[in-house]
Symmetry: C2
Subunit: 272 residues, 2 copies
């Protein structure tokens, strides 16, 4: 495997761009092939079998680019499909759940950690499993927040309605006095300031996107797979593929990532 | 074609059950095969190409049951794919858009009609096209309401948040004094009372589910394809198929349809 091979990153749609953005920031010499499954988004309300089948198709697509590693930039796919993807690939596969769980286990002081995520991720109990492996004394409280993704996609990032919905979802987590809150869905960092305001200053928000990019960097360094060479203009360092609506994706992506999405192409993922 | 063959009905998910319910009410002797594409829901934010490809797969699946007609119980699929489906089938295909458009053109008195629907349906301008064919003097105002579907699926049918979002979406339609409002998405009849309260008594709400079932009945009668024989208990009159999450679908369906959903089966629609 060559250090100048690209990194494959995928998500059910645009949420994983918050992870891609962190990778661009932390290891700016890397090439990225991003895939967003916009024809079949969202994953968070779907079953393990379906999310696993979709994820395997995407991994087969990303491997056609000779990627050196794959980042599952979607909590639901990480929760449901990571084991199956690792079993099928001979390259490292990194999910967003483990890095977020690790940080939360480290930063909590009172041992009460909240996780907000999709129905699927909460139902899988995956954060509880990973955190308990690191620290059996900790208690984890999960709360599914299914309206956050549509509110973000509707652009209501700072809005009284998002405030009201967030207050309802978070009320029980405030009541039980958590001191750490994992943003267990890649869309949620986009309403981070609303969540921080409602939870209050004493609660640490953990953004798995940041932790995942950090773990990716460490793993690549360990295997001597970090790309040392700087990219020149016009080298097509970042490539974006979607299963539907490339133009709409490009507009949303450009509002999140400041590096400029030069192009996004639509492919038929069901063929992989 | 035999009169005792079943009717195929499909939607991107559960919304089309409001149409199936009307068919069960208006022509109670008919067998129905319902398919909900819960693995790829929603359609309303996706492109014409993708929605058409998905719809063709579903029609191929429904035809394996020897259906005598197909009802496209989804406004987005009706808007984007009806022509392509008609071209491919030798049985009649009925969408929900035309019947709703016809009724709205008939009931308006001041000639100002509002349509609320998904981004895709509004963008397609399909209601405008059909209504203008019937009455060139009418003005149609379309408004996309992308948050209504997730709010309904979250069960917030009577809720201050749904009220607030509905007030925002409907404000401009109230301002321009429409007297008729088409519920151009099969989920919307489930928040009909909220919509009626905000629009006021002087506005007639048109529910295409009702009109579609009526048109279906007329069409079958004309072709002598109405099933005359009453069904006996245990004849499996209504069959439900989904592409994901059969149990979850069954729970939701049972809250909408009072005839009892005996079973729902999951199939892999990508194989069709």
């Amino acid at each position: 495997m060559r250090a100048d091979a690209p990194i494959g990153v995928f998500d059910s749609g645009v949420g994983g761009l918050t992870v891609a953005r962190e990778i661009m920031r932390q290891i700016p010499n890397e090439k990225i092939i991003y895939f967003g499954d916009t024809a079949r988004v969202p994953y968070g309300s779907k079953s393990k079998e379906t999310v696993t089948r979709f994820s395997k198709q995407i991994v087969r697509f990303l491997q056609t680019f000779g990627v050196k590693t794959i980042v599952v930039a979607c909590n639901t796919a990480s929760a449901y499909a990571l084991d199956a993807l690792e079993a099928e690939c001979d390259i490292p596969v990194i999910g967003v759940v483990k890095p977020g769980a690790k940080t939360a286990a480290e930063v909590t002081r009172n041992g009460r950690i909240g996780v907000i995520a999709t129905d699927a991720t909460i139902g899988s109990q995956i954060y509880t499993k990973y955190i308990k492996e690191l620290n059996r004394e900790v208690t984890i409280y999960g709360k599914a927040c299914p309206l956050f993704v549509p509110l973000v996609e509707e652009g209501l990032l700072e809005d009284p309605v998002t405030d009201e919905i967030a207050r309802r979802y978070l009320a029980e987590l405030i009541d039980i006095d958590i001191d750490t809150l994992i943003l267990g869905c890649t869309h949620y960092p986009l309403i981070r300031s609303t969540l921080a305001r409602i939870m209050g200053e004493q609660v640490t928000l953990v953004n798995p996107a940041y932790e995942t990019a950090y773990e990716l960097k460490e793993m690549l360094a360990e295997r001597k797979l970090l790309n040392e060479e700087e990219h020149k203009l016009g080298t097509n360092q970042y490539q974006f593929y979607v299963s539907d609506g490339a133009e709409k994706f490009k507009r949303f992506a450009n509002s999140i990532i400041k590096y400029g999405i030069l192009s996004a192409k639509t492919i038929n993922i069901e063929e992989y």
